[in-house]
Symmetry: C2
Subunit: 381 residues, 2 copies
């Protein structure tokens, strides 16, 4: 990571690219990218071993090696979420989908494609899931078989109380499906205290690999009884797991280079000290960002206690001189790529805290933002 103190410098990562302060694709280490400089035969023993090792490491992150299987799946995180829903939750089931943002709504949309019954318990975009209301919904409707939740809702950056949600869902004897896309690898998610049936996450995001594959961590008995549920050959987790258990191979051509990058990224996660240390770095990044942005006059959407250390949503300033696209473009030119808003109720933009970034890059970004405001002729927000 490169230090940057002069606000008029243009920041560049070691590979000459802008830093990505986004929820992913994000800035990965040079060594993660260099791991992709090889070609492997996907049915060769060396690649079979690599897949097996990566899956074992992913299971270990959730303390799930005993009770779960890890099933990788080609495509983006949404492909993994769709595969999880399609395979683990059948036509006979009924899903209670906990929603407080765009990724929650996406689960409802997937269920519409699947033609599966889905009821929504919705909260405002800046309000975490209310566990009492969840419990009441489970009491009121005994036909609900599954509950889905987004651990960290990337559309706002809000953290949902996963441990309490999982405890309640388990107490009422339902199956929990977790979208852990923006949290897996940085926020605690262990089978020891969080009972779940399946979770979906991706190579990208907090694991700091490159995008191109997702994976599901699934309770063994649930996976075994899921034959015939999936709507799609490509997204059939049961078939994927069945084929892998036979010969260790992916059914269809895997994203070989993405897996090579993920293997290196998992080594680097380990070297960093595991997910506890990674969470600390992200928390520190997030604090530097929130403090610095507040000092510049920006207002975060969420209070500190609801903020996951993944991505921070800020209100678009009311200053008439502030035009977001201009701000974005000027900041990009200074070497920091941020993210537009995703929630509709408030006019916002987002800045990510994850990836191969530390305090130098966060301070660098704040200096660049300060300089960008000056370029735009804005003295005070």
């Amino acid at each position: 990571m490169v230090s940057k103190t002069d606000p008029d410098d243009i920041a560049k990562s070691p590979t000459g690219d802008a830093y990505l302060l986004t929820p992913g694709p994000l800035t990965t280490s040079e060594t993660v990218k260099q791991a992709m400089l090889h070609d492997y035969g996907s049915r060769d023993g060396s690649f079979v071993n690599l897949t097996r090792d990566v899956c074992a490491q992913l299971l270990d992150i959730a303390d799930a090696r005993e009770s779960c299987d890890c099933v990788p799946i080609q495509g983006s995180g949404t492909f993994a979420v769709e595969a999880m829903l399609a395979t683990m939750f059948s036509q006979k089931g009924k899903l209670l989908n906990l929603v407080n943002g765009a990724y929650g709504h996406r689960i409802t949309e997937i269920c519409e494609y699947l033609g599966r019954e889905c009821v929504v318990l919705e909260f405002a975009e800046d309000v975490p899931v209310d566990v009492e209301k969840l419990e009441q919904a489970l009491i009121d409707d005994e036909s609900i078989s599954h509950v889905s939740v987004i651990y960290c809702e990337t559309s706002s950056g809000i953290l949902n109380p996963l441990e309490k949600i999982a405890e309640a869902v388990n107490r009422y004897g339902r199956a929990l499906l977790i979208d852990a896309m923006s949290s897996f690898g940085a926020l605690p998610l262990s089978t020891r205290n969080i009972p779940f049936t399946a979770l979906a996450a991706s190579s990208n995001k907090c694991l700091q690999g490159v995008p191109g594959m997702g994976f599901c961590i699934v309770k063994k008995e649930a996976l075994q009884s899921s034959a015939g549920n999936a709507h799609s050959l490509s997204l059939d987790l049961h078939k994927q797991a069945e084929a892998m258990s036979k010969n260790g191979q992916w059914r269809f051509t895997p994203p070989v280079h993405c897996l090579l990058a993920l293997a290196q990224a998992l080594t680097e996660l380990d070297e960093e000290g595991g997910i506890v240390t990674r969470e600390q770095r992200y928390r520190s990044n997030c604090q530097i960002l929130r403090d610095g942005m507040r000092e510049l006059g920006f207002r975060p959407l969420l209070p500190d206690e609801l903020q996951a250390p993944i991505i921070v949503t800020f209100h678009i300033p009311e200053n008439p001189g502030f035009e977001f696209q201009q701000f974005y473009d000027r900041l990009s030119a200074r070497g920091y790529v941020i993210y537009p808003g995703k929630i509709t109720n408030a006019d916002t933009f987002r800045i990510g805290c994850i990836g191969d970034l530390g305090s130098n890059e966060m301070h660098g970004a704040l200096l660049a933002i300060k300089a960008t405001l000056k370029d735009m002729g804005i003295e005070n927000l």
Copy 2:
């Protein structure tokens, strides 16, 4: 490409890896892999432009820029084939699936998942599609709306007579869906002489990129009228195209590094002289391989005139000393990874001719095969 004349040498590509004589993932150039040493924001203008340029180049390969759209899709080639079938062929349609190998059967399997009507016209694995029988099937069943075919059936390496098939399907007023996975970028496929409704292919294979994404090239009017057909959010080509036409962005996180590699691979295809020159190189690779293997006593499954210059299937020799796994492992140790058989009727194995390989590598492979047979104590097959 590295020359290799001493059969006792262990061959290594410039990156130190074994050469992949497989149908993909295959050996890519160093520069294609080096193109992945960057991180891009997937919603940033530079990546939007990259996606647009790659799609335009893919359309140009099929002379399709006027009449078609190119819709990229995350995942392996099978994901693209499933997306094509799901989006372009609705519940109201009826598919005539032309089958002479495993990839043809895979289309039938996808239709079973989709719950869509599919009738199969099957030929033996070493027999190309018979156009007269196709015509008769179209005459006999007016309810057939679509026809699907595998251009080069990778399970045997057989070439199907695509131009004649397309002409017949068009003459009888049906829509043609082409699995061009192992052919696009090397075998002729132009809208000028091959009328089709959609084709599916991938970044990998003859384009010599890395695996991780597919794409469909689809007639504009067919794409426009395909809303609501798809069974899957992730694999909905219509939605993907609609979103891209609005802001140039992929709906869900794209495999950024895979697209960077594909952009470089397309530049290198152009530098090589385009698909005509690439086909010539593959034909030369194929001829060297077939001649050399015959000289060693191996028998190709297909006669020369049915052989696509992509992958060659050989019968497992009857010599009792020849055990395939041992042959494979010893040859891998010498730096050449080949491929097991995929067709069930004959006991076979396969060797690919595609990727960043030329006559040096094919001759090197033959020397290594000769030495491997000697290691196995086989004097004469």
